[in-house]
């Protein structure tokens, strides 16, 4: 009796080993490959930070946390339609279904991590003044007029509070090369003259100020 059970036990154990090894191999990457919202969110957060607070790779990845859902959706559509030039985000966005796009945008709205930080602090006061009062002599309106006194944005107007410094600088410096491409006029046209009228040091001051807004 004992002999029989031992004989059975060995192949059973081997079989179990084989199965557990196969199960392990299958586990690697399997959940990530499913098309669900959770997997897609993890994919976004790989580059945009675990809490959507932004990240500095070779390129700065913007903060998505607390961003206006309408703005996120509008930008993803702009990537897909190549109105906003960004090869990486074109690849990312063009496989998203409209319902997935909305679900992702809604998820990020409710995240509220601390700002990414790291911006130079020397010109924050200048930045605050430009943000609140604009530069009338240079035809730059107050940022707060559209983006809100706390920089939270509304609808298609983006939140700037807590945005990654290098990202904001890059966007304002390269506005016309990246945004509003092609023949279709989109909302990005509103920012074009303002971005153009800001000097480099003014851009850096404003970007530093908003990067520390909670």
């Amino acid at each position: 009796m004992r002999v029989i059970s031992l004989r059975l036990a060995l192949p059973t154990a081997m079989l179990a080993l084989v199965f557990s090894a196969a199960g392990h191999a299958e586990n690697r990457g399997a959940p990530a490959r499913q098309g669900g919202l959770e997997a897609k969110l993890e994919y976004c957060k790989t580059c945009h930070g675990l809490s959507g607070q932004g990240y500095l790779g070779y390129f700065p990845m913007p903060r998505l946390a607390g961003q206006q859902p309408e703005y996120i959706e509008a930008q993803l559509r702009a990537f897909i339609e190549r109105r906003r030039t960004n090869p990486i985000m074109f690849n990312v966005a063009h496989v998203l279904s409209p319902s997935m796009l909305t679900a992702l945008a809604m998820h990020f709205r409710d995240l509220n991590p601390r700002p990414f930080g790291g911006a130079p602090r020397g010109s924050i006061a200048t930045g605050k003044k430009i943000f609140e009062e604009g530069l009338p002599e240079a035809n730059v309106p107050a940022c707060s007029a559209c983006h809100g006194t706390e920089g939270k944005g509304q609808n298609e107007i983006p939140r700037l509070a807590g945005q990654v410094y290098a990202y904001t600088v890059g966007q304002l410096r390269g506005w016309k090369q990246v945004r509003g491409q092609g023949s279709t006029v989109d909302t990005s046209a509103i920012m074009a003259p303002t971005a153009h009228n800001l000097t480099r040091s003014q851009v850096e001051a404003v970007a530093a100020y908003v990067s520390y807004l909670q």
Binding site: R28, K45, C47, G57, F59, P87
Partner: protein, 207 residues
């Protein structure tokens, strides 16, 4: 006239060879290397160009080299070879000495390993640049740069050895080195074995 000129050239070449012979005999490969550098190059190869499982250090981002030495000291980079060799190798190294070594190796021009599978390089390049959005595989390019040159403490990947690149990508997916704030465990967990082979192959050829 022609003959005389030829003779003169021969003489000059002869002199150069003689000088070369003297220099070569007096200067072994590690001439000018400090003892600290030599402790690295025993395993990391002459001029830090990498050898077997010890990766190339030449041309690596200095901030990355420093951060890795820190992670060996803090035991967060915990794959078997790191445990076996690097934990002890850096144990007595001061942060200042670590920085000096990082800067030294970073300034040596790197040579590409060129040891991947050429047939997989095109597929690897596509994954590197575009990722696989349908499978939630992110683009490597976004962080490691258009030519895999890295930036700040994000490592240069271009030209590292196939075996090393493949091993590291596999280890990330197996849960090693999870103590750091890197997005790499998430990146690697989405990669299948064929994709890892393709990426490692492509990167080994990048100059």
């Amino acid at each position: 006239m022609h003959k005389a000129r030829k003779l003169e050239v021969m003489k000059r070449i002869g002199l150069k060879i003689a000088i070369l012979a003297i220099v070569a005999s007096a200067a072994p490969a590690w001439a000018g290397e400090s003892a600290a550098v030599r402790n690295c190059t025993w395993c990391h190869g002459t001029s830090g160009q990498g050898f077997m499982v010890a990766p190339r250090l030449a041309g690596q981002r200095p901030q990355y080299i420093e951060s890795q030495m820190r992670s060996f000291r803090e035991h967060t980079r915990d794959n078997p070879f790191s445990k076996q060799y690097m934990w002890y190798a850096v144990a007595a190294l001061s942060p200042h000495a670590a920085r000096d070594l990082a800067i030294y190796f970073a300034t040596i021009p790197p040579k590409a390993a060129n040891d991947g599978d050429r047939n997989l390089a095109a597929k690897g390049k596509t994954i590197y640049l575009d990722g696989i959005p349908e499978s939630n595989v992110v683009s490597c390019y976004a962080c490691h740069g258009p030519n895999a040159e890295g930036v700040r403490d994000i490592p240069r990947l271009g030209g590292l050895a196939y075996f090393y690149l493949k091993g590291r990508l596999e280890q990330w997916g197996q849960g090693y080195h999870s103590g750091t704030a890197s997005p790499m465990p998430m990146v690697a967990s989405h990669l299948g074995p064929e994709e890892i082979e393709a990426l490692a192959s492509y990167l080994s050829f990048v100059k």
